[in-house]
């Protein structure tokens, strides 16, 4: 018997709702909802009882239509939004014994700066657009307690070189970059602390095909070389197929199907997944 591998991240019954809920929608297992929306009080149930595990050096894909709760899930994991209820454990923080969602905001900052990296769909959310690219990467290092300028500058340049930003543009601000370059700076920033877990939210959406291929290549290389676990959110099944090992399918805030990516895409079980897979152009 080989030893069971410990998960990097465990999420149990994560809930996120926008609004207070009312007697009409509360505790009804969602029977009275229109999709994930309560017509009486207007509460939106963005994530409902989401449970998942990510193992080290594994890429987990999250697919689903827009509004299905994919991005909200990632934002809860990165503490951009407070989750309504649920438990999360991350290996590397208190040996995975403390629920990260109930920690103080100071501790959440610590987790964010030391153990997580996030790449947003919109680079404006992840970067300080009018600071230099080197500075943007240094910010993450500063957050992790680094106070050596020369080390941080060298590390930033090394990372920017790794994501193919030319040396002569490294001190420029990302606002002067093209969308693809901004996305690559974001990836470099997210990687700066060697986080064990990287969260990628629709990283290639809106980029043209050749740039998309570049970014995807880069992600694959990073995963192979650095052995980083990742959660990749995308509505593009081709991206999911290329990158991920396992996939979960979300609909109206719920996980409706999960399994190996090949399995889910070749032999979808849930009616919605079937529709999703066969509506490929």
């Amino acid at each position: 018997m080989h030893q069971q591998e410990r998960p990097l991240l465990t999420i149990k019954n994560l809930n996120k709702q926008f609004g207070c809920g009312c007697s009409h929608c509360r505790d009804t297992q969602g029977h009275n909802l229109e999709d994930n929306y309560c017509p009486v009080c207007g509460t939106v149930y963005a994530c409902r009882n989401v449970s998942l595990k990510v193992y080290p050096a594994e890429i987990l894909g999250v697919v689903g239509e827009s509004g299905s709760g994919k991005s909200t899930l990632l934002r809860c994991l990165y503490f951009d939004q407070d989750s309504t209820s649920g438990e999360g454990y991350i290996h590397g923080y208190n040996e995975g014994r403390t629920n990260i969602f109930t920690e103080t905001s100071q501790q959440k900052n610590y987790i964010r700066n030391h153990l997580l990296g996030m790449v947003y769909q919109n680079p404006y959310l992840g970067l300080r657009m009018n600071f230099s690219s080197v500075g943007n990467i240094a910010e993450k290092l500063i957050g992790a307690g680094n106070r050596k300028v020369d080390f941080m500058a060298a590390r930033a340049q090394e990372l920017l070189a790794a994501v193919n930003i030319p040396t002569y543009r490294m001190k420029e601000a990302p606002e002067k970059f093209s969308g693809g370059m901004q996305q690559r700076v974001q990836i470099a920033k997210a990687l700066s602390n060697n986080p064990p877990l990287l969260l990628l939210d629709e990283v290639t959406t809106g980029l043209d095909l050749s740039v998309q291929a570049n970014v995807l290549d880069l992600i694959k290389v990073i995963q192979r070389d650095l052995k980083i676990g990742m959660i990749v959110v995308s509505h593009d099944l081709a991206v999911i197929r290329m990158l991920t090992d396992r996939t979960i399918v979300m609909l109206n805030g719920r996980i409706i199907e999960h399994g190996l990516t090949d399995q889910v895409l070749e032999d979808p079980q849930h009616a919605y997944t079937q529709q999703l897979v066969y509506s490929l152009l």
Binding site: S105, Q106, N109, R128, F131, S132, V134, G135, A138, E139, I142, G143, R147, K148, V149, D150, F151, M152, A153, K171
Partner: protein, 283 residues
């Protein structure tokens, strides 16, 4: 004389409110305490924060000194001093050692202050994080979380751009290992005087409605990176033309006729006392 004002201009309730904010500020070193900044007979942004602190603290036995960037006789300093004196009738002085209460704009005197003195600094922008975060709601959260990445990043960017930290005045400091504080636009030269100072330092921002403080014997650390240490303006080679002192903060002046650059103590009363041989201790 017809009595038009209460002692020290304010009614007692106002003074008490300001003093209550001041006590809280002293209890939490470096934390900006909001207070009900009052309308003053001078415009906001002209020292009303410092003036309100001074007026709330002053008693009949106090001896007041008012400084404006090192000078006792600039218009701003004189007007503030006149207002204080005409509403309280207290004595004033230009000699730092004689004063019990010192209100200053952008300088800390060269003479070391004592435990029985209080220095009040006027502050235009009390929030050190304002340049990186415009929202007050968010800067309060950043302070609460001790999330000071932004201000470190600002210093990092300066080093990237200029090869050194380029803050001229108002170089951010960390007080008592907790809050990051704007020391008011004093030159970096004066930052070190705040550290472990014998005197109580109060800082008041009238327009921004904030009071904060550095209690006596408190650690005040100027922010700096491990490989780019904090440096002060180098005054070692500069000699005051009037009193011959070196090693104090100097003004650089230029004589157009002789095309000569010369230096003069910025702290005028210090310079005068040196010249009049009233001060024999060589710093």
């Amino acid at each position: 004389m017809m009595k038009k004002y209460n002692f020290a201009f304010f009614d007692e309730g106002s003074k008490r409110e300001i003093r209550r904010a001041t006590l809280k500020a002293i209890a939490i070193p470096g934390y900006q305490v909001p207070f009900a900044s009052r309308e003053m007979p001078i415009a906001r942004g002209w020292g009303t924060g410092g003036l309100q602190l001074t007026l709330s603290l002053i008693g009949r036995d106090d001896i007041i000194k008012v400084i404006d960037q090192g000078a006792d006789e600039s218009v701003n300093a004189v007007n503030i001093k006149k207002l204080i004196i005409s509403t309280t009738g207290v004595q004033d002085t230009e000699k730092t050692a004689e004063a019990t209460l010192i209100q200053s704009r952008h300088r800390i005197p060269e003479v070391e202050l004592r435990e029985d003195q209080i220095i009040v600094l006027q502050v235009p922008l009390p929030e050190p994080l304002r340049t990186i975060e415009p929202s007050e709601y968010k800067t309060k959260k950043l302070h609460a979380d001790q999330d000071y990445n932004g201000i470190w990043l600002m210093l990092f960017e300066q080093i990237m751009k200029h090869g050194r930290m380029s803050t001229g005045a108002d170089h951010p400091v960390q007080v008592h290992g907790r809050y990051i504080m704007a020391p008011s636009p004093i030159p970096r030269f004066d930052n070190q005087k705040l550290n472990d100072s014998k005197t109580l330092t109060l800082l008041g921002a009238g327009r921004e409605k904030k009071i904060y403080a550095v209690p006596p014997y408190t650690k005040v650390q100027s922010l700096a990176f491990a490989d780019y240490p904090f440096t002060v303006e180098d005054m070692s080679a500069k000699v005051c033309r009037l009193c011959g002192t070196t090693g104090v903060y100097m003004d650089e002046l230029f004589d157009r006729d002789t095309e000569e650059t010369y230096y003069q103590c910025n702290d005028v009363s210090y310079c005068l006392q040196r010249e009049n041989k009233e001060m024999d201790d060589l710093r």
